[in-house]
């Protein structure tokens, strides 16, 4: 509760300061993100990949995207896990601090959107804490919550695939953070216009 007191004199990394300074204005940019993680516990698990797309003026901007694969050597080693597929593939990989830093620089003050976004935000916050940064300041929207609001459902959770089916979002056979982010982005566009959010 008094966290902010503890941190009041703390020196943050440069990128975090510049990120924090961007919140004077409200953004009209939405960043739709999805994470791939080792599990469902934000404190114990880590991010394996991040995918994100920006929505501006009711359109997904394919070029305004973020995609990163994290090495997570330490986590994998500590838990006796291997991720050979990742390691051997030719995709560009980065360490967690690098990836999170570029992600923070990418999102700026945009409104974050995701499927069960709370979890994504929580696990990113954990990573930020390890880097000596504060918590994400962005507003966050959850497509599942939007779906519940649209249909007056109280608290039943719906999976991303089911939502895609319900709203006729084309489902690709590939499965990655970027794919999920793209699907969520389309879902978000549809829900947004159905809920008449400007």
């Amino acid at each position: 509760m008094l966290d902010w007191l503890k941190n009041i004199n703390k020196e943050y990394p440069e990128f975090w300061k510049s990120y924090s300074s961007k919140f004077d204005k409200k953004s009209s940019r939405y960043v739709i993100l999805s994470t791939e993680t080792t599990g469902l516990n934000p404190e114990k698990d880590v991010i394996l990949s991040l995918g994100a797309f920006a929505v501006k003026d009711n359109a997904v901007h394919i070029g305004d995207n973020f995609e990163s694969y994290l090495t997570q050597y330490k986590f994998l080693h500590d838990n006796g896990l291997t991720n050979e597929f990742m390691m051997e593939s030719t995709i560009k990989k980065s360490s967690e601090p690098q990836a999170i830093q570029s992600f923070i620089e990418y999102i700026e003050n945009a409104i974050l959107v995701g499927h069960h976004i709370d979890f994504d935000v929580a696990i990113i916050n954990e990573a930020l804490e390890r880097m000596g940064c504060g918590r994400l300041k962005n507003e966050a929207l959850d497509v599942d919550v939007m779906h519940r609001k649209l249909n007056d459902i109280s608290d039943k959770e719906t999976s991303l695939d089911t939502l895609c089916e319900l709203y006729h979002v084309p489902i690709s056979d590939r499965n990655s953070a970027a794919d999920d982010a793209y699907k969520t982005a389309l879902l978000f566009l549809k829900l947004k216009s159905k809920l008449k959010i400007k």
Binding site: F53, N58, A59, V60, H61, I62, G63, N65, E67, S68, I91, K92, H168, P170, S172, R174, S176, A178, D179, Y182, A185, L186, L189, K190, S193, K194
Partner: protein, 638 residues
């Protein structure tokens, strides 16, 4: 790194003009794409909107492109996934000349012109494709198949053929008329006309038309010797020329010709004789345009070689129906024409199957049942059919039945390709139950009619509406004989049919509101098929059977005939006949609007007047119900 851009590139590379580019180029383009979601009926751009900075590719769904001609919205094109549209910003500076609207929920890729332009400049194939796309005038559906991909015209649409079935259609005319100047002599002009095989020539001054010479002038003024061959053409030309605007419709052109008693109309830029010439419309063009009628279609059907051709023809029929209805041509007439065309299509499908699998080993009849049997199929609803073949020696029976089952499978598959869905209840000639010998069929009908209710699961009243499509007329007659023989004084059977007719839920609630669907995907819509049309259809069938009226399968005509036969209740029958037409019209319009079978009507989209009309059309049903109840003592099954 952007894996989605690669996926989009992967999608694009299947379609022209993107197939001319390398995958890398496409990935590059894809990173600049914006993905736009369009709700149903939302427009992307409208006529006269300022140009966007991008053109579009349909990713999912259907986008309708339309223009306004004769103060009416005319559909130019339906864009399916992979089609490009909105090319105007590439080539022109003025505003959009058409409206792009989502017919269903759709996704489109917006490709910025700035990104794409370098590829156009460096790649002549792409440029040519785009130019062709943009400039192509004829939207003849037949051409469409021949082109590399689908070209979506964006430019001049009025001389197109897109809806060639429409009476209020645009015209194809000669856009490079023969022109001469006032100094030419009669002889020179006559030579010119003969050379270019034209029956007319325009006399032009400052590129404005000042007169016209036709074969008729040559005959009446020159050949008769009234003018010498060397006199200037101006002495025999008709002046002033009757001029019209570019986007004139067939009907209008006809009126102008009749009014002015001329055979040629000059098309000019602004429709007066003080502007540049755009072309000439001759009487022949009008006749040619009108030749696209049902007769021609049937001829084309007879010549069609594969399901694809038949499908195209059926698509044009849909246009015909749509325009006929909007022009208030009596629906009974439309029913007749459409059913004849459908009949021809089914017949051709059977023929194609026979060509494929060899001549049949026995005589047979392909009967259409259900809505096509009643000649009431306007929309492409599901197909229902049965096969009856003549009795053969027992040892041959298996082979013969095998042959006809195969025939049934082939034909129904063809029809499915044309757009007639399979019957969900399997009432088709490809079903082992509904493909059998005449004796078996007679037994089947005997069973149904003498012991109704016992095996009622597979008794569907649609088996009593049938129409021979292909094969032996005698077989159909034999079936009719059986039915009417069994129907005579068969109280039990009428009891069953009567109850079947009355079982449907009433269309109006106690408070005279519409009885809407309570749940399911069509919640809050009105089921016009089951709640309004079926009771009328069932009623008409019941009465015609009981009055022994043969050979009339159409619900409308059945009611008309009933009003003559049973003149005591003529008024009720006539009301029902009218109501049936009104309701069918509602259903057809709904179906055309949504490209489905129109079973469910969204009342909120109807105007208040239409809602009242619909409600009034439901009134005669009550009287018919009462009549059924009083005529047939419905006790056994109620």
């Amino acid at each position: 790194m952007n894996s989605i851009a690669e996926q989009i590139a992967d999608f694009l590379k299947e379609y022209a003009p993107f197939n001319f580019l390398t995958f890398e180029e496409l990935s590059n383009i894809a990173t600049n794409i914006r993905v736009v979601n369009l709700e149903k009926n939302k427009s992307l751009f409208q006529i006269n909107d300022a140009l966007h900075d991008s053109f579009y590719v349909v990713a999912q769904g259907v986008i309708n492109l339309s223009v306004i001609a004769d103060a009416e919205e005319t559909l130019l094109n339906k864009c399916a996934p992979g089609d490009i549209f909105g090319l105007r910003p590439f080539f022109a500076k003025n505003n959009y000349m058409m409206t792009a609207k989502a017919r269903e929920e759709s996704l489109v890729y917006a490709i910025p012109i700035a990104t794409f332009r370098p590829f156009v400049a460096n790649n002549s194939e792409v440029l040519n494709y785009l130019l062709e796309s943009f400039a192509v005038n004829t939207r003849n559906p037949k051409d469409k198949e021949n082109l590399i991909g689908k070209l979506i015209s964006d430019n001049v649409f009025y001389s197109d053929q897109q809806s060639e079935m429409q009476y209020f259609q645009s015209l194809n005319y000669n856009t490079s008329p023969l022109v001469t100047n006032r100094n030419c002599s009669i002889k020179e002009v006559a030579l010119l006309m003969t050379e270019s095989l034209k029956d007319n020539a325009l006399v032009v001054e400052n590129s404005w038309p000042i007169g016209i010479v036709t074969d008729c002038d040559m005959r009446s003024k020159v050949a008769t010797g009234r003018y010498e061959l060397h006199t200037p053409i101006t002495s025999i030309m008709s002046s002033p020329v009757i001029t019209v605007v570019e986007n004139i419709s067939l009907a209008e052109a006809q009126l102008v010709m009749l009014k002015n008693n001329v055979t040629h109309l000059c098309v000019t830029q602004d429709g007066t004789d003080k502007s540049a010439i755009k072309g000439i419309i001759s009487e022949h063009d009008l006749i040619a345009a009108q030749a696209n009628n049902a007769g021609v279609l049937i001829k084309e059907i007879k010549r069609a070689q594969n399901p694809k051709e038949l499908k195209q023809i059926r698509n044009r029929v849909t246009d015909l129906i749509q325009s006929s209805i909007s022009k208030n041509i009596p629906l009974s007439h439309v029913f007749n024409i459409t059913s004849e065309i459908n009949l021809a299509i089914i017949k051709r499908s059977v023929e194609l199957s026979i060509l494929d699998s060899g001549s049949p080993p026995a005589r047979f009849a392909w009967l259409s049942i259900g809505s096509q049997g009643r000649k009431e199929q306007l929309l492409r609803t599901d197909q229902d059919s049965i096969i009856v073949f003549e009795d053969v020696a027992p040892e041959k029976y298996r082979d013969v039945k095998d042959y006809f089952l195969r025939l049934g499978k082939k034909t129904t598959a063809t029809l499915e390709k044309i757009g007639f869905d399979y019957c969900p209840n399997g009432h088709m000639g490809s079903n082992i139950l509904w493909c059998k010998s005449l004796t078996d069929w007679i037994k089947q009908y005997d069973n149904w009619m003498n012991t109704p209710g016992e095996n009622s699961n597979d008794l569907s009243s649609i088996f009593f509406d049938y129409e021979i499509t292909f094969g032996e007329q005698k077989i159909e007659d034999a079936i009719s004989d059986t039915i009417f023989k069994n129907a005579k004084n068969n109280a039990l059977f009428y009891d069953f049919l009567g109850n079947d007719a009355l079982r449907k839920n009433s269309p109006l609630t106690f408070f005279k509101n519409f009885n809407l669907e309570e749940d399911g995907p069509n919640k809050d819509k009105f089921d016009i098929k089951t709640k309004a049309l079926m009771p009328l259809i069932d009623g008409a069938r019941l009465f015609t059977l009981s009055f022994d009226i043969r050979g009339i399968n159409n619900t409308f005509q059945r009611f008309k005939q009933l009003s003559l036969t049973d003149s005591k209740h003529a008024e009720i029958y006539l009301n029902c006949a009218e109501a049936f037409l009104t309701l069918s019209k509602f259903r057809t319009l709904e179906g055309l609007k949504n490209d489905n079978d129109g079973q469910f009507i969204n009342l909120e989209e109807l105007s208040k007047i239409d809602r009242e009309k619909l409600k009034n059309a439901l009134a005669p049903m009550r009287e018919l119900e009462e009549l059924i109840k009083s005529k047939f003592q419905l006790t056994q099954f109620s």
